[in-house]
Amino acid sequence: MTSPIDIEGGGTSVVVDGEPGPETKGEAVKLDGRSPGQLMWLRFRRDRTGVISAYVVGFFFLVGLLAPLIAKLYGKNPYTVYADERPDLFDSAGVPVQPNGGIGGDFWFGLEPGNGYDVFTKLIYGIRTSLMISVAVTVAVVVTGILLGVAAGYLGGRTDYFIGRVIDFLLAFPAQLFFIASMPVVVSLFVSPRDETPTYVRVVALILVQWFLGWMGLGRILRGTALALREREFIEAAKVSGASPWRIIRKEILPNIVTPLLVQATYLLPNFVTAEAGLSFLGVGIVEPTPDWGQMFSKASTQLVMQNDITYMFFPGVSMIIFVVAFNLLGDSVRDAFDPKTAR
């Protein structure tokens, strides 16, 4: 529901930024003798909010990456059924007897109502799963966006028309509805219905469906950028000097779209995280017992949790807010660093 807004909203502003971008950099290089990358880095480092956000985001990725190690040091794993291991801590419906979901020295974030999984390890493993999927979707979307967007913008003509119509068509898809409808189909493409669905198949399916309807916004923006670049003198010059289209795209166009690409990617990734969580929330994404951020929300919305242990829902909830806010702040900072002119 919310994803098209952010993509569109981000999109409009960046088309505006994208055009004067290269020019600004060109001037800066002459005056200071620093590369655009160095300049950007300097500007970014001066932005305290950006740096803090970057640390927070980095922290999440680190937690995801090191989840097994952290769990080992902590001495628990997200798969142990504490409701059967430690029945004294639960009532017969699986609600922790201690207040606040049994938070304490043994279980830092408490126990999950139901089977009584350890919430702390479940959360860090969940972050790991969600981030892994979202990063993969982002990479896939960026690659597709570059390929199709640049092709449409630079080649123009029939290619442009065709890709444009495909984008129009895909944008008319009710995205979330399509995700739900296609998840079982995509899963069934990989496994026969009678076999176990390994977790990686669900992961791949999630990546595929999100990728399929995720690239159009970025594709449009890159098309616009490539279209504008095509008319520039330096491209003309390259053409006249006999460079092949492939070389022009690789050497002249790609370096110039890095800016909008990086900015867009930082806006897209948190969107994919929340969309993935939404699918798991609806029950078509990652399922128990594989820990996943969205699956924790789905647990949090059960009667059992809502009536007996609302403390539980704050762990996935608050961690996700912090992550998304930090990532959005980081996105703003990255954009400002690339293009200090933009007022926002």
Binding site: D91, S92, N115, E196, Q303
Partner: protein, 602 residues
């Protein structure tokens, strides 16, 4: 925006998140009442043996409900709209509940006690529960006088014939198939060959199968004895359909009824209004009452919604209840703890018994020691937890539910009542003895929130005992189809089965008769044990329902303890609540819910 601004909102963000955390404190869980006391109550509440009534028992009107008054409108809150109202299509419990008010059949269950536990099968449209002279091969029924459909036309044997014949029509595919199979002497769907188009293309059942010599008499001829026919005919699925008023598929939304209430309006998915049926004559009906003037049924009421409305007990909800909605799991312990609220509830067993099937067709499962190890190791607590705790699910000992004649509460061969979380040490020992430690065990589970929850925990319990458990998910809508395929690759999988009538003859034969093993049949564990087979044949011939009940229980114990092809897990329970002005509130064990026929407004 200015630089400074963003620092401020970075800091504020953290504050806001912190504020959210502060509000998120919760109390811990607790169990209602003491478990020991409840188990005693449950043990008391079990189905007394049912007998088949004669002409005197079958004469109307029904004995009045103590304190009953007539008049008033009752509000009924239901979760699911009625997808089927055509008797031939009715096989789901909520449709069966409302069918008690709408449809009449040849036989029916008369309550012999006022608490919903005592029953007797009597003649409903027929003058008695049926007479047989050859041990159940030929059954004769005679219709009462003065029985009419809502449009005033008398019910004749032609209508009964039509009702039976249309069960063979292709569009009737949801209802029970006992009678059809018995008449055609066929298993599975082969009965359809007897009359492929139903009565609609001019063909009829031959009189060697179904005989209607005059307007009042119906005779069923079976090739083999079926002493359970009076039970079967009491199912809503075999209620009468008007030949004149039969609109085929469209009958499903607007049936011509014969019971004490008729449908005034039905907006599928929204509401339904039932009013008194003036053509119904109390003198002909030994089972039903017509105290309430009108039932206003509202659909799409989830369990929490109906529970909350009825708990509040204000306005129209004072005369409100639900035929089938339970008190939701979240409110259950709270409601049962408060004596004031508890007095407005009724509780009882649903007819279902949960069981973990062990697939006997797999070579690895043929080792009895391994099966015993599974039986010891399997934790039942995850199952109880997933369905809301001990108020909603009771640990089972055997396969015969407390609502079925013959239930034995003391039977508990695997110690599940004492150690519901399983006995991994004993299981490990057995597994070691069999030399199968760390053997692979494929566990097919139903992909619902409950199924996911209990299967993961059960798998963890089995792993502790030394099994290498492989969980495989199965889509919920096709679950039973998948597990009833003969070549499925699941070693263990959980199913629940409810008796179609309160006799174990609808439980043990379909589930454990080795001769009915087929794709799509219900012998899920694919057990083929000569003693089970011969016992089924022997007990099926006993015409006295009280005697056969005792024999079925013996067979149940043999299956669970000596064959070990299934491990019983739980008896499903439910609690229902009504407004303070609802009278005649009784949990009926046969219906598996509130008995709608006895309700009145105080």
């Amino acid at each position: 925006m200015s630089r400074g601004g963003r620092h401020a909102y970075g800091a504020l963000s953290v504050l806001a998140a912190g504020a959210l955390v502060l509000t998120g404190c919760s109390k811990g869980g607790s169990d209602s009442g003491t478990d020991g006391k409840k188990d005693q109550e449950n043990a008391k509440r079990q189905q007394a043996s049912i007998k088949f009534g004669g002409a005197a028992d079958s004469t109307g009107p029904a004995a009045p409900v103590p304190g009953a008054k007539t008049g008033g409108t009752m509000e009924v809150l239901q979760r699911d709209s009625y997808a089927h109202l055509d008797p031939g299509q009715i096989y789901v419990s909520d449709q069966m509940s409302v069918a008690q008010l709408l449809h009449r059949g040849l036989t029916g269950y008369k309550a012999t006690t006022d608490d919903g536990s005592g029953h007797e099968v009597v003649g409903d449209l027929a003058t008695d529960s049926g007479t047989t002279t050859d041990g159940g091969k030929t059954w004769k029924y005679t219709l009462k006088d003065g029985i009419k459909f809502q449009d005033g036309t008398p019910i004749t044997s032609k209508d009964i014939r039509h009702s039976v014949e249309r069960l063979f029509a292709p569009f009737i595919n949801q209802g029970p198939t006992y009678l059809q199979q018995w008449l055609a002497n066929a298993s599975g769907a082969a009965y359809r060959k007897l009359l492929p188009d139903g009565p609609y293309k001019g063909k009829h059942l031959p009189s060697s199968v179904l005989e209607t010599p005059d307007d009042k008499t119906i005779v069923f001829h079976f090739k083999s004895p079926h002493p359970d026919l009076p039970y079967a005919l009491a199912m809503s699925g075999y209620a009468v359909v008007s030949e004149k008023g039969d609109t085929k598929q469209r009958y499903d939304k607007a049936p011509v009824v014969s019971g004490p209430y008729k449908i005034q309006s039905f907006k599928s998915g929204k509401s339904m209004v039932l009013v008194k049926n003036p053509s119904w004559d109390a003198k002909t009906d030994p089972i039903r009452h017509q105290y309430v003037d009108q039932f206003n049924i509202t659909f799409n009421q989830q369990y929490e919604t109906s529970t909350k409305a009825l708990l509040a007990d204000s306005g129209a909800d004072q005369t409100g209840l639900s035929f089938n909605n339970q008190v939701d799991a979240g409110n259950l312990s709270q409601v049962l703890k408060d004596p004031k609220m508890k007095s407005r509830t009724v509780s009882g067993y649903q007819p279902y018994v949960g069981q973990m099937n062990i697939n006997m067709s797999h070579p690895a499962m043929k080792d009895k020691t391994v099966r015993e190890a599974i039986a010891y190791a399997l934790p039942v607590t995850p199952f109880v937890r997933a369905y809301g705790g001990t108020d909603a699910m009771e640990v089972a000992g055997g396969l015969i539910s407390p609502t079925v004649s013959g239930y034995d509460p003391s039977f508990d061969p695997w110690g599940k009542k004492k150690k519901p979380a399983g006995d991994p040490d004993k299981a490990r020992e057995l597994l070691k003895k069999a030399g199968k430690l760390n053997m692979k065990l494929t566990f097919g589970y139903i992909n619902t929130p409950e199924g996911q929850q209990y299967s993961t925990a059960m798998a963890a319990g089995l792993k502790k005992a030394g099994f290498d458990v492989q969980r495989q998910e199965i889509p919920s809508e096709t679950y039973y189809d998948q597990v009833s395929k003969l070549n499925n690759n699941y070693d263990i999988f959980h199913t629940a089965w409810g008796a179609d009538w309160p006799s174990a003859s609808t439980v043990l034969p379909p589930l454990y008769d080795g001769r009915v093993i087929a794709d799509g049949a219900q012998n899920y564990s694919q057990v083929n044990d000569p003693k089970i087979n011969s016992e089924i044949d022997r007990i099926n011939k006993i015409t006295d329902p009280v005697k056969s009940a005792a024999e079925w229980e013996k067979l149940d114990q043999y299956i669970v303890k000596d064959v070990v092809n299934v491990v019983p897990t739980g008896y499903y329970k439910q609690t229902q609540i009504a407004g303070s002005k609802v009278g005649g509130l009784v949990y009926d064990d046969v219906i598996g819910g509130v008995d709608p026929r006895r309700l009145f407004i105080k």
